[in-house]
């Protein structure tokens, strides 16, 4: 299959039902990882729950959720999204979580580039931002490689497994983006 948005290493396509149990198990099931990426307390979740962040949903104007698959073997590598899409401010946020076996391979950088293409070119956005913990070096590196600039540090704003951590906001404007 080839439908969706293509990068150099990955393809971003719509969520399929077969993706959901894998993402729920490997991403939601990782309690500590979930605490770092979510702004809600982790809870146990049964298969098929409506509360799943990974379930198949109708398109909305507020968020565009994708599944990430590898270009070579078409394997599910994780999930990625533009969320918080603001049609007045023409802005959105990037979110991403890769399955453990697909981390450290440079896929994140490619995912960020593909989401920027989608946001700036397809949606006509003016600004995209990435909100991440200040110790998430992989995400910060992926963002900076795509041209994002460090803009804000929200001090002690995220509760993660017993402590408040700082959050870094990186921003990229349409005119600064080079495909």
């Amino acid at each position: 299959m080839t439908g969706g948005l293509h990068g150099n290493l990955v393809r971003l396509r719509a969520r399929h039902e077969a993706d959901v149990p894998i993402l729920d198990t490997e991403l939601h099931g990782d309690v500590a990882g979930n605490a770092r990426g979510s702004r809600r307390p982790w809870r146990p979740m049964s298969p098929g729950a409506q509360a799943s962040m990974n379930r198949v949903a109708e398109p909305t104007d507020r968020a565009a959720p994708f599944s990430v698959v590898t270009l070579g073997d078409d394997e599910l590598a994780g999930e990625a999204a533009l969320w918080g899409i603001n049609t007045l401010g023409r802005s959105a946020h990037i979110g991403m979580a890769l399955r453990p076996a697909y981390r450290g391979k440079g896929l994140g950088t490619d995912v960020v580039r593909v989401l920027c293409h989608y946001g700036f070119t397809v949606l006509g956005l003016h600004r995209i931002q990435i909100d991440t913990l200040t110790d998430n070096h992989a995400m910060i590196r992926a963002a900076e490689r795509a041209g994002f600039q460090r803009e804000v540090i929200h001090r002690q704003t995220v509760w993660v497994m017993g402590e408040f951590l700082d959050e870094l906001i990186l921003g990229l404007l349409a005119r600064e983006w080079t495909p």
């Binding site: 702004r39 307390p41 003016h126 804000v152 995220v158 408040f164 906001i169 404007l173």
Partner: protein, 174 residues
């Protein structure tokens, strides 16, 4: 009610609503600069009104601001985006035109922080404003907030993209 040096913050009363809707929501420029949403005409009694009376909520605490000296309605203030997990919240306020430039903003921010940290037990309070809103920036600094950064061109404001300055204050025992 919550008492500051210049103002009192109390629950919204029915008599406040038409005044706030006329003078605050009716101010197209002011509302466009502070709401993050496009301004819309709003009929009296509309559900969408930010100033209508609502039941108490875990997510948001809406106040009317009253001048202490005269017992007159001076504006509206809100602690919103209350997050009981991250123990954080956000401050918003808007004063009636006749009550601006009197230092009320600083007093309101202090009172809302006291409410957030002491009554609600929060860990962090945030506020943001346009880079040219000197009154709000001054109120944040005087009330002990630290400027944490600037979201570049993040707010569409009446024809241009404006920078949004972000402030945070942590609980004193943090």
């Amino acid at each position: 009610m919550l008492r500051g040096e210049l103002v009192v913050l109390r629950a919204r009363l029915e008599a406040d609503v038409p005044i706030l809707e006329d003078e605050l929501h009716g101010d197209v420029v002011g509302t466009s600069r502070s709401s993050g949403r496009p301004w819309w005409p709003l009929s009296p009694g509309a559900e969408a009104s930010r100033y209508r009376i609502t039941e108490p909520s875990d997510k948001e605490a809406r106040f009317s601001v009253v001048e202490l000296a005269t017992d007159t309605l001076a504006g509206a203030a809100v602690l919103n985006e209350i997050d009981t997990y991250g123990r954080s919240a956000n401050i918003g306020l808007m004063l009636r035109p006749a009550f601006r430039g009197k230092g009320f903003g600083t007093d309101i921010v202090r009172v809302l922080c006291d409410y957030a940290f002491t009554v609600l037990g929060l860990h962090r309070v945030a506020m943001d404003t346009l880079a040219d809103n000197h009154a709000m920036i001054s109120a944040a600094r005087k009330a002990g907030f630290t400027q944490e950064g600037v979201l570049r061109e993040a707010a569409w404001t009446l024809g241009t993209f404006q920078d949004l300055v972000q402030f945070g204050r942590l609980a004193d025992n943090a």
